[in-house]
Symmetry: C2
Subunit: 326 residues, 2 copies
């Protein structure tokens, strides 16, 4: 057990409220199509003057305010986004600048696609456990609206932009990361991707505009997730002897309405124990799990002394889970 | 002290040997210009059929071979590149696929620009210290040749492509990370950058081809590094009571010939103690420090029982240093 406690969480949403009816009209679908296809009533998209790192900085400031802390009380900033703001340098530097973090405060990125927050939270727990840092901010932000292929309803209608943050420090003997497991099955690395933007496809070496758009084979992802999930859950929970019944609240990645239904059914969970903000937020990529966690905490649904399970899949393809005792 | 030991290191270079004379001819400079301007005789560039993750996988296999290990003996793969291969998913997944790592082995990215390897090595040391993983591979690869602005000699002529890897596990009581410090000064985040490729500049939201090219204000970087380095060195070495004289070999980021000369002079180092592979490799971004470390170890210049100091600057702007007792 890595003893950490959540000092606070925070979140931020960009300014454009985009209803499913608006998307029907904008993309020439018949009325009701987007709502039925996506399972969402609305989602937020960034306005032209809102950047990923600005949104991240707002979420970080929300968390700082909720904890009654100042920026200079943070030892380390971990940016845990699904997609970077730009190819170089790290997104963490841009967040640090917008959030007004003190000069010298270390900042770097951890990237595990949609599971970046979960992986970074576990890294933070290890760094606190070994005494390397005292208080760490983990911040996730993604603007999927900046790279969607509107000709593909399956992979475009399910997303929403957003950001969320958590601040952690050393916890009591009964608080912290009770179990963590992250597994990568690189056979699935082409199932969800944005091929452009890095060293492989760009104007210098050649790229088409479509290379910068998100592409997904949803059926194959669901099939791979279904195949790997049972053994994954046995290893995550079983090796530490944690009963699924001992989990008060499950915070799943808000991948899609089908994805959340699927995981609820596969694990035999009471839907009342599963946080589901998808209908009004959509899949916010790496910001999805921390935003759902923030909702569970700020609504009082998840409280001190309780146990949460953060759980999800990620492009790559990876499965990840973290049992957090609050 | 985080007790880890380097089981092995490895490196890989892509296929195109590009001499400074070849660049003179290719870009219409007078004979000898590139050699004088860059301080390099030659460097390697990736051929059209070589990707960043393939090069990374070769470096990882070189390290595995040098340690007499098989891929399935690795618990965790950390990709520590300066620029990603593509916007989504993480580069670690592509490296895992090319290296034939076993299904399920966790893989994610750590990004701190040119200091990604140093930051990831320290994260690896913390994860081993807390017992989260037993044996970790840290792999860095960059192909700067895929994003250079040949109209700007200062920021294009100094680079070379490459990859390097290190495999670490728990060390004896006298082996490991003796000191580590990483500091970010986000005021300098625009001094070295590639603006395109992420959420901020791409074909959906608008981008020019030039946005995908590396841009640098070398003079401002050197000035910021000079200003921050003295206090940084005092904190890195002084707080642990480590004398600079106790360091057998300094492995600096191979930023540029001016950069290496500058750091050697500023710290009052005997040049014989400073690893300098820059004239034949150039600045290999995040692969620079691990490639230089691999050269020092494989040439016998750095040996078991000795102390190394990995030290450098990174776009962002950051300073980083790690004292490693071998």
């Amino acid at each position: 057990m890595l003893n950490i406690r959540l000092l606070a969480t925070g979140s931020a949403l960009p300014g454009l409220d985009v209803t499913s009816a608006m998307l029907d009209a904008r993309h020439g679908f018949k009325a009701g199509f987007v709502r039925e296809k996506s399972g969402m009533s609305t989602r937020r998209f960034a306005a032209a003057d809102e950047s990923q790192s600005q949104l991240a900085a707002r979420a970080l400031h929300d968390a700082l305010a909720n904890a009654g802390l100042k920026p200079d009380s943070i030892d380390l900033l971990l940016s845990a986004c699904g997609v970077q703001e730009q190819a170089l340098p790290s997104t963490a530097c841009a967040i640090s600048a917008h959030a007004g973090m003190p000069a010298g405060m270390p900042a770097f990125d951890i990237n595990a696609s949609c599971l970046s927050f979960v992986v970074a939270l576990n890294v933070a727990a290890n760094l606190i456990h070994s005494g390397a840092y005292r208080r760490i901010a983990v911040v996730s932000a993604d603007l999927p609206s900046h790279g969607l292929d509107w000709d593909k309803p399956e992979s475009s209608l399910i997303f929403g932009d957003g950001a969320a943050a958590a601040i952690v420090e050393k916890g009591s003997a009964v608080q912290g990361v009770r179990a963590f497991l992250f597994k990568t099955f690189a056979e699935g690395r082409r199932l969800c991707e944005i091929r452009g933007g890095g060293s492989q496809r760009n104007p210098t070496v050649g790229a088409a505009d479509a290379d910068y758009l998100f592409s997904m084979n949803g059926k194959a992802v669901l099939s791979l997730a279904s195949k790997r999930m049972p053994a994954f859950m046995r290893e995550l929970m079983g090796e530490q002897g944690i009963a699924l019944d001992s989990v008060d609240v499950v915070v799943p990645h808000q991948a899609s309405h089908v994805g959340i239904l699927h995981i609820t059914k596969r694990l035999g969970l009471d839907p009342a124990r599963v946080v589901n903000i998808y209908p009004t937020h959509g899949n916010q990529v790496a910001a999805s799990i921390p935003t759902a966690l923030h909702h569970a905490l700020s609504s009082g649904r998840l409280r001190a002394g309780q146990r949460a399970l953060l759980l999800g899949t990620a492009a790559g393809f990876s499965l990840g889970g973290l049992v957090l005792d609050l």
